[in-house]
Symmetry: C2
Subunit: 262 residues, 2 copies
Amino acid sequence: MKLYKTGMDVRMACRKQGFSGPTAGQAPDYIQTNVVILDKSDALDFLIFCQRNPKPCPVIEVMDDGKHEAELSAPGSDIRTDVPKYLIYRDGEIVANESDLTQYWNQNLVTFLLGCSFTFEHALIRNGIKLPYYSEGKNVPMFITDIDTVPSGKFSGPLVVTQRWIPSDKVVRCVQSTSRFPSVHGAPVHVGDPGKIGISDLSNPDYGDPYIPLNPDDVPVFWACGVTPQAVALNSKPNIMYTHDPGHMFVTDIQDEDMAAF
Amino acid sequence: MKLYKTGMDVRMACRKQGFSGPTAGQAPDYIQTNVVILDKSDALDFLIFCQRNPKPCPVIEVMDDGKHEAELSAPGSDIRTDVPKYLIYRDGEIVANESDLTQYWNQNLVTFLLGCSFTFEHALIRNGIKLPYYSEGKNVPMFITDIDTVPSGKFSGPLVVTQRWIPSDKVVRCVQSTSRFPSVHGAPVHVGDPGKIGISDLSNPDYGDPYIPLNPDDVPVFWACGVTPQAVALNSKPNIMYTHDPGHMFVTDIQDEDMAAF
């Protein structure tokens, strides 16, 4: 796998060389984001949804309607071409998987860039916590919980979480180190018993790949996940919605430490 | 001065007994907010403005259009009556000062509650930093800086800051203790020389009352201020905008520690 160093390198590879792979491990010092693109008529309700649910939907940037450059977080970027893969939803159903949105673009589209867990995963790794799916080219396991998000307009639905196995003597450190990054999902939403948040079987995630704990006393820890807005889209059925394909993120020019709260 | 204990006590006093005073020191454990009410046609641009400028405009709650109850932060409240004093702006000019907005209400109004510095001031006080304007019934000094906010649609203008004198041996602690509260202005935007942010004379604030440092080596420290959206309104001239009168805040049911990031 070719490794790109900066956010701009990844974006240019998507735009010019057809890079269409998952972005985990790419440009490791740069903030990667979830992408949600909606018609302007849905934008206020969705932005209020994000404000009411900052853990799954931490807003990194909202682009003015019709703008396809992320002027603040990735100057020179083009959101229509700089993501490896896109999903297109109509009325809550996936209707296409594309590598370029140019033909779909119009002046009423509003783009939201939402924080992604890759940032705090680097913090976990720096604190000695192993994430084996990382080196195996797999996706983190994701589960639909029985926790409802706070609705806004047509947007409502369950919270989706990621799950990671944390050594029991690292749980405190893991809460501390991820709390520094509230704009990229931040502190966990739950530690321990999956049943408490409506998850019955950790070996059978709703998205991504399960993985085996390295030690039998590792503790499952759960974080709000940026796939939540996609689950909400399925539930809420906006006429049109474009997103990244999970795991295939938009990479900005912002560096991890720029996002640290303290 | 009668002291009210809870957010609801203050709101009911505004609603029923005509309480119209400043809210500093009232319901000291409860989050107080700035209030901005706009027509729905301006709401998306303004919410994006807040997202781009989270230090001066930390959003605590956005109410659905036409709703006058803050369902999430103050159930049972009525934003039309529960603030001690309101200002009414038309095209960027103050046209009235009212104690009740009921006669002005319509179904297209969207209410934004924005964090206020009273919360982190309690953190300063708990850390042994004296704020004499508090006990003297005065307002913190506020200055218009030469730092521009990031514009959104018609909303643009300079950052307004509050200034406090901090003993030189408490500056680090002051940064740490206020960093815990990013949703209520959080960490300072500047420490030291006022000239670096375009302030020429600390004895002559643009709003509020100047105060004398307790020790000659106290350091001026500056925080983003929730009056910024009002300065922006003057600059941006939305057709209609209702706000609280500075210092006369909306008091929620949320407690200070609910807002702490860590």
